[in-house]
Symmetry: D4
Subunit: 168 residues, 8 copies
Amino acid sequence: MQPKVSIIMGSVSDLKVMEKAAKVLDEFEIPFEMNALSAHRTPDEVERFARGAHSRGIRVIIAAAGMAAHLPGVVAAMTPVPVIGVPINASLDGVDALLAIVQMPPGIPVATVGIDGAHNAALLAVQMLSVGDDLLYQRFETFKKNLKLKIVDANKQLSEVKFKFKVN
Amino acid sequence: MQPKVSIIMGSVSDLKVMEKAAKVLDEFEIPFEMNALSAHRTPDEVERFARGAHSRGIRVIIAAAGMAAHLPGVVAAMTPVPVIGVPINASLDGVDALLAIVQMPPGIPVATVGIDGAHNAALLAVQMLSVGDDLLYQRFETFKKNLKLKIVDANKQLSEVKFKFKVN
Amino acid sequence: MQPKVSIIMGSVSDLKVMEKAAKVLDEFEIPFEMNALSAHRTPDEVERFARGAHSRGIRVIIAAAGMAAHLPGVVAAMTPVPVIGVPINASLDGVDALLAIVQMPPGIPVATVGIDGAHNAALLAVQMLSVGDDLLYQRFETFKKNLKLKIVDANKQLSEVKFKFKVN
Amino acid sequence: MQPKVSIIMGSVSDLKVMEKAAKVLDEFEIPFEMNALSAHRTPDEVERFARGAHSRGIRVIIAAAGMAAHLPGVVAAMTPVPVIGVPINASLDGVDALLAIVQMPPGIPVATVGIDGAHNAALLAVQMLSVGDDLLYQRFETFKKNLKLKIVDANKQLSEVKFKFKVN
Amino acid sequence: MQPKVSIIMGSVSDLKVMEKAAKVLDEFEIPFEMNALSAHRTPDEVERFARGAHSRGIRVIIAAAGMAAHLPGVVAAMTPVPVIGVPINASLDGVDALLAIVQMPPGIPVATVGIDGAHNAALLAVQMLSVGDDLLYQRFETFKKNLKLKIVDANKQLSEVKFKFKVN
Amino acid sequence: MQPKVSIIMGSVSDLKVMEKAAKVLDEFEIPFEMNALSAHRTPDEVERFARGAHSRGIRVIIAAAGMAAHLPGVVAAMTPVPVIGVPINASLDGVDALLAIVQMPPGIPVATVGIDGAHNAALLAVQMLSVGDDLLYQRFETFKKNLKLKIVDANKQLSEVKFKFKVN
Amino acid sequence: MQPKVSIIMGSVSDLKVMEKAAKVLDEFEIPFEMNALSAHRTPDEVERFARGAHSRGIRVIIAAAGMAAHLPGVVAAMTPVPVIGVPINASLDGVDALLAIVQMPPGIPVATVGIDGAHNAALLAVQMLSVGDDLLYQRFETFKKNLKLKIVDANKQLSEVKFKFKVN
Amino acid sequence: MQPKVSIIMGSVSDLKVMEKAAKVLDEFEIPFEMNALSAHRTPDEVERFARGAHSRGIRVIIAAAGMAAHLPGVVAAMTPVPVIGVPINASLDGVDALLAIVQMPPGIPVATVGIDGAHNAALLAVQMLSVGDDLLYQRFETFKKNLKLKIVDANKQLSEVKFKFKVN
């Protein structure tokens, strides 16, 4: 089984955020890999990874980083494979990571999701893969329809809250 | 009993903030309803809710949302009923929600209150209802007069604080 | 003709923003007044204004202020009439005014609109008045339907933009 | 010719930013369409657009919006087609739009690019399309290689700058 | 004993910050009073307080407030007695209170200290009082000389920290 | 004539802001001096200035600085004379200067006014001097009463603005 | 043994951050000293320290400070020895300290590292010392090569995380 | 003549800021080079540059970048030569670039100067070079002494400003 999505992160401490991405990919039965890579500590590995990603079958890269978060942009510079950036809240509520990921110069986009947004990063990866995969598109369509179930549950709970002048 | 105010929120986790709004409406004996709705997860329900609100007797809508808080603005786009927006602090101290609610484009105002300001949202709803209801206006007037009691209590407590050169 | 809405502002320099509110009220044929008042320079006048507003027929107050914008909150403290706050961009892109208006303590809400949002403030005033006025509600409903015309115009202009691979 | 990418924006004033996206798509010979749509002024049109996008052949949506920028998120809520969000600097240096686009709740990702980042949005669209299109992937690869030419030019200009102790 | 300094605050919850101010005044043997006052809940009391402060012997007012912190500015508008503003961190790390206190319009200054800076507020009050009181000036001068003792203590502690290559 | 107030600034470019302070002192007939001093370029002069200020008759110091604005705090550290800090907008809208002036550690207050708030700084200096000078206090009281004239003027101008439904 | 690097800080409470700097210097066997100094509480000591640093053999100064962090800039003003500034998070997530350290006016640079970045400050000191010391340069080169070990460890841990569709 | 300092920047548009650095190095007669390099457009060139810098005689690197400014950190990751980072104001007042440069993770410091601080970056380079060069140290010491001349000039200009109550 060859991985189609690669999740990379700078530190094991990012795992508690990024495992949400892994769960989503598992649910959609999309083969993936997880690696620790650092734009600053292992620039050579980053380059080798980025240069070889496409030929190894990787079609989407999810890159998580905190603080002066360079990993997503550096990888995006080295491969035509689309890169999804996840700003990790490691300082300043994650604002430094968000700006360091999203404000890329013309020519090298990074598809940025919200701070600690690993769950959404994986869904976006699924959406990208479904551009050329109608079956996956249909499965994602079904997933979206099920999103409302969370709201149905919420309404059940709200209906049990009692106030004198609450009507429903 | 037909509800006059509708409190909507995206998630049950917002309830711990929004129940302060319910308490205020209860205190003013204004019939209300509470529903979970999500601009993103249940767009159809949101539309049905917004389109039908006025004919069901709803005169003010209180909409709470966090992060990229779209619910208040989306509902305001679909009904002439005034919408009060409550930014929920779910990330970035609530600054993202505040900006996503208050900075509406010309044509679609949302009456925004402070971050996690559910209590004030309900009072504002009472004020809006009292525009066409003199009796309610008088009750709100009385409520305002009683606000000073909290300060009277505070002064009692401060008077018990002892310092050598404190005179009162 | 007795005014129903009162537009107050701290300085004539705010007029270039606030005249957008006046235009909206004119369009809806709602009698209004405009006054300069300052929470800091004329506290007595502010109090006289706020205490007497309701008995003079004022049902909604629109208060604009910049910097450490106290006017909306101070007026809201002195009258049960609902107050709409307009943060004026006089420094710091208007962020100081926004926070000084929206972050009111429990008990005294100010219905805040966006920075320099005079147009929306007046629309919100119309919505508040329409809570007890079905005819006005219907006119506001019609106004909302017409909002889409701006988009129709925009699409006409966009249709004239030519690119080789642009289809529509 | 059926469009594959749809560029939507809330106002004609966004065109001066978004035409950079059109130029990129033209350069890559990808058929596209441009439409004005507003989450707030034309919610019905937005829904019709979003629901029908995929069956009309749209594979990527680029949505631009300023201020409390709801359009990208609202469209993303209504279609499984991936949505790229472009925060437009219409106020607060674009920070309000950035947060209102990127901070989406779990379940509905928006692939956010930098403020006024229309050029990068289109490149990201090309990358997404190339996930299932090897030929396009190769053309994008070539495009990336040419990015360095801008730097070669820059170095020529720098080499002409003369300082006494400047060596190159 | 007539108070010379008046410490006012909007809520008893501010006391845990403001008692640092009381301690400083006690140490300098300056008679003071402490009162709860709210620009929003007790505007009449605020006015009575401000108008009468000077004739009751008050020469400096220390006003603490959080969120949309209006109390210092409102009091400053009503009395020529100098007002020291203390922004209380009640939300947004105190940034809202800081801006709402310091960004006063021309004509009504508030002498603002740091967020939760009650200790410094009292020292500033002592400095203001010492403008017309040479004896107090000398005592403040002595106080300043003693500030270095804290650093002497710190150095003792640092000298006990052992590292192999630490020389002192 | 011995100066009572000293206005110091880091650069002649600050003069266009700080001359507003000079005008206020002139109006109140308070002898003052103006000097350029830099915490970074002339630390020795700063120390000499600060150490000798009181014995030369200086009772209040107004210190203006931009960017990493150290001058007010450094002077405050070296003299018991109260220091009023004016954050100059030289970068980042003046936010850097505001924080670098107002956020002083316990022991060394700086009485901070708003960004570019030279006018208010001088008024605050007058208020501080009036703590021990009843005549000056009365003149400041008169000044405050005249503040409302600006509002009277504003109202005249507003009364000339004509709208169909404007009543006053 | 004469110290080459001097670590200064305003308070013992900064030690828990700054001891990371000491550990790095120890590891590189660079003699150093640690002292408490305050730009505000001990300006004389600061001057004596700064003026004498070079002649005592100090070649790099690491200065830590929080809030309105003046120490690094004030020391940099008084000595040609390069100063590394460490913003300490004592309020506002350290943003106030960062701006007060990094935004120095032309003429007096402070080499600023990240918030609470004591570890990096010491590494930067090593790099500065190695400018004139080839042996130290080689040791730093070796240190950099070892940085990747942390990533190797991280990858080992990641390889143990099991998901159904995780390939590596 | 072999360059000792290398100034790198991502775009010719940065030259108008960075030529201030060149002027300083020229004044100190330090041989330098200027090159355009982009972490994103020419990652290979960046690597070649960084790996070879030391052996070509480069002892300090000055790297300027705007937006999601990765260049300084990426170069610092690839060479033990100290890197000075200059955040360029290309968007968001330069805050994005500042955070993307200064907030480096442990192990890879970048010596950050203020936004657009090219002048200070070059001075810092001179200071670093003078760590192992006593002659240069003395020249920098002289330079620092001359900084006060700017203040002397400023005072001359201030002495010509006339106010009735201005004493000096």
